[in-house]
């Protein structure tokens, strides 16, 4: 009979606090991940929005091609009208 009571006491005073401590640690870790994930989600959404202007690179490419073509024409003309060194 006494051993039964000792077992109950051990279960109540040792096992239960250990179980609660471990589960509390797991819960705290899970809770700490949530804000980080939310910040990552906000950052990636902002990064995706910042890249909306990447499509304008096509316009930039066209402008660069036209500019280089103009420079080439200008240089070709200079090559014709100016003497070499």
């Amino acid at each position: 009979m006494t051993l039964w009571w000792i077992g109950d006491a051990v279960l109540l005073l040792v096992v239960v606090p250990v179980v609660v401590y471990l589960l509390n640690g797991v819960l705290a870790a899970a809770k700490s991940i949530v804000p980080s994930v939310q910040q990552i989600a906000a950052a990636t959404a902002a990064g995706s929005k910042d890249l909306d202007s990447a499509a304008l690179l096509l316009t930039t490419q066209d402008q660069v091609a036209q500019t280089v073509a103009g420079v080439a024409g200008y240089g070709g003309s200079l090559d014709v009208i100016l003497d070499d060194a």
Partner: protein
């Protein structure tokens, strides 16, 4: 009878306490595990948002490399053209000097397609070219050309710059008559297309020496 009941209760009490403790443990397990599940669901929802945004970023940045590569190739071609033209027309030394005059310190970097330009000593353009040449070079761009000119810091005269340029040409063109055609338009769209001279790259023709 009462004694027997007391004995039964005495024997069953530790078992009942054990059951109560086990129930407490199970309740704690349920509470914490449900809380963890809720948090894990929140994490999953957040990661879903992240994955969606990352997918958008990937989709938006996929063509960037090809476009930027194309822009760089075109700019490289332009740089090659301008460097080659400058060196061809001015010569390597004067070209380095001109660049050094426009951007002090740039001569140390040299030209990309002319590795020997890094070791070429840049002449002082203000001493090499005449005032008229420098005036032409300064026109329209306010370039700090020949910054080391002993005559002073050469800045474009905004009010008189146009007159100074016109004075480089013969007087006939400036005032009498007034309506001479302007300088020819150059470029691929020019109305007058000139053929390339045959003597380009060859020694200049020299007039015969005067007979005394």
């Amino acid at each position: 009878m009462t004694g027997a009941m007391a004995a039964v209760v005495g024997i069953a009490a530790p078992g009942v306490a054990l059951i109560v403790i086990v129930v407490l443990i199970v309740l704690a397990l349920v509470f914490y595990l449900v809380s963890v599940i809720v948090q894990l669901r929140a994490i999953t929802a957040g990661l879903d948002e992240v994955i969606g945004s990352v997918g958008e970023i990937l989709a938006k940045t996929t063509p960037v490399e090809a476009i930027v590569t194309g822009i760089n190739e075109q700019l490289d071609a332009g740089v090659d053209l301008l460097e080659g033209l400058l060196v061809q027309k001015a010569g390597l030394a004067d070209a380095v000097g001109l660049v050094e005059g426009l951007y002090p310190g740039a001569a140390a970097a040299g030209f990309r397609n002319f590795p020997e330009s890094t070791t070429t000593k840049a002449p002082r353009i203000g001493e090499v070219y005449t005032k008229g040449t420098l005036t032409l070079a300064r026109l329209g761009r306010e370039a700090p050309i020949a910054r080391g000119n002993p005559a002073g810091f050469p800045l474009r005269n905004v009010e008189g710059g146009s007159l100074a340029a016109r004075l480089l040409y013969p007087e006939l063109r400036q005032q009498r008559p007034e309506a001479l055609p302007r300088s020819p338009v150059i470029g691929t769209g020019a109305p007058e297309q000139y053929e390339r001279r045959d003597d380009i790259g060859k020694p200049r023709k020299r007039l015969p020496a005067r007979s005394q």
